[in-house]
């Protein structure tokens, strides 16, 4: 069995330490990502990607509208602004009762709703 030279041993050791450091830092990063809650704001998770809209045409005018931060403030500016602004706002207001309590209610989950019985009932 050939003995490894000192240089070869050091190279192997360097490689192992590098792998160990990489694994440790990756583990710490993943732990921070999980426990900080940032993973819940990450839309790129598998199964949580935003749904692609088939019809993009209704979004195109609004997507193209930008208001430069310089220029006059006249009727036309305000009217254009409000037209596109309210178009976006209507999309948000069209969502009925966002995060309503119904999905977590006992009825929705199939848990019987118990009514409190007064103690003095015969």
């Amino acid at each position: 069995m050939t003995k490894l030279s000192r240089g070869s041993r050091n190279l192997i050791l360097l490689g192992l330490i590098s792998i160990l450091i990489a694994l440790t830092t990756t583990g710490i990063s993943v732990a921070i990502y999980h426990y900080s809650g940032d993973m819940y704001l990450d839309s790129s998770r598998p199964g949580h990607l935003p749904e692609k809209k088939d019809d993009q045409s209704e979004d195109e005018p609004t997507a193209k509208y930008t208001l430069p931060d310089t220029g006059p403030v006249d009727d036309k500016t305000i009217d254009d602004f409000l037209y596109y602004y309210n178009e976006q706002l209507d999309r948000v207001n069209a969502i009925e009762t966002p995060y309503s309590s119904t999905p977590l209610s006992n009825e929705s989950l199939g848990i019987p709703v118990e009514l409190a019985i007064p103690e003095d009932v015969d």
């Binding site: 935003p50 509208y65 930008t66 403030v73 006249d74 848990i111 019987p112 118990e114």
Partner: protein
């Protein structure tokens, strides 16, 4: 030494047994007492309840993916540039700036509350509802409270965005007055 190693060890050992018992008593008195029917229903339908919760989690995330970009677009491409334009035109718009600040704050609150709500849901789904229906129901109540807070924040953001629209409309020149 007043607290030697042996004394510290004894205190530690006593706390080890005392604290879990105290915690159990506290949580037992603070949870909503489940009836036998409810306990049975949770245990029996644990799998379907858990599946419903996972679907709900996905739906909630999709909803956030829908409304958050709209909020961001309104703030970045509408509110901020208009407020800047008003400042550059020396048009008093303190109210609009205040609304913008409020929207910023509420959006940050929404992000924090969304994280907290999802953590509650993850914890809820992880509980073995078949064998621990009481713990499950306690955590369900926590998730419900988090969800209510989230709903209230979204309503506040929507109200502020509507208020901004009204305030901008009121900026329109009246009687031929022009700002340019």
């Amino acid at each position: 030494m007043a607290f030697g190693p042996k004394k510290i060890y004894n205190i530690n050992m006593r706390l080890r047994y005392f604290l879990p018992v105290a915690f159990a008593l506290l949580t037992a008195t603070s949870t909503n007492a489940l009836s036998d029917d409810q306990r049975g229903a949770i245990s029996q339908h644990c799998a379907s309840i858990r599946q419903s919760l996972k679907s709900l989690q996905l739906a909630d995330d999709n909803l956030r993916n829908t409304i958050s970009p709209i909020y961001h677009n309104l703030q970045t491409n509408f509110i901020t540039p208009l407020n800047l334009r008003l400042v550059r035109n020396n048009i008093p718009a303190a109210g609009l700036t205040e609304i913008q600040s409020s929207i910023n704050r509420e959006r940050d609150t929404f992000s924090r509350q969304f994280i907290h709500y999802n953590q509650d849901m993850e914890h809820l789904i992880a509980i073995d509802c078949q064998n621990n229906p009481d713990d499950f129901y306690t955590q369900l109540e926590n998730a419900r409270n988090s969800r209510v807070e989230l709903a209230n924040t979204v309503q506040r953001i929507n109200a502020l965005l509507s208020k901004y629209s009204e305030s901008v409309y009121n900026l329109k020149p009246v009687g031929g007055r022009h700002y340019d």
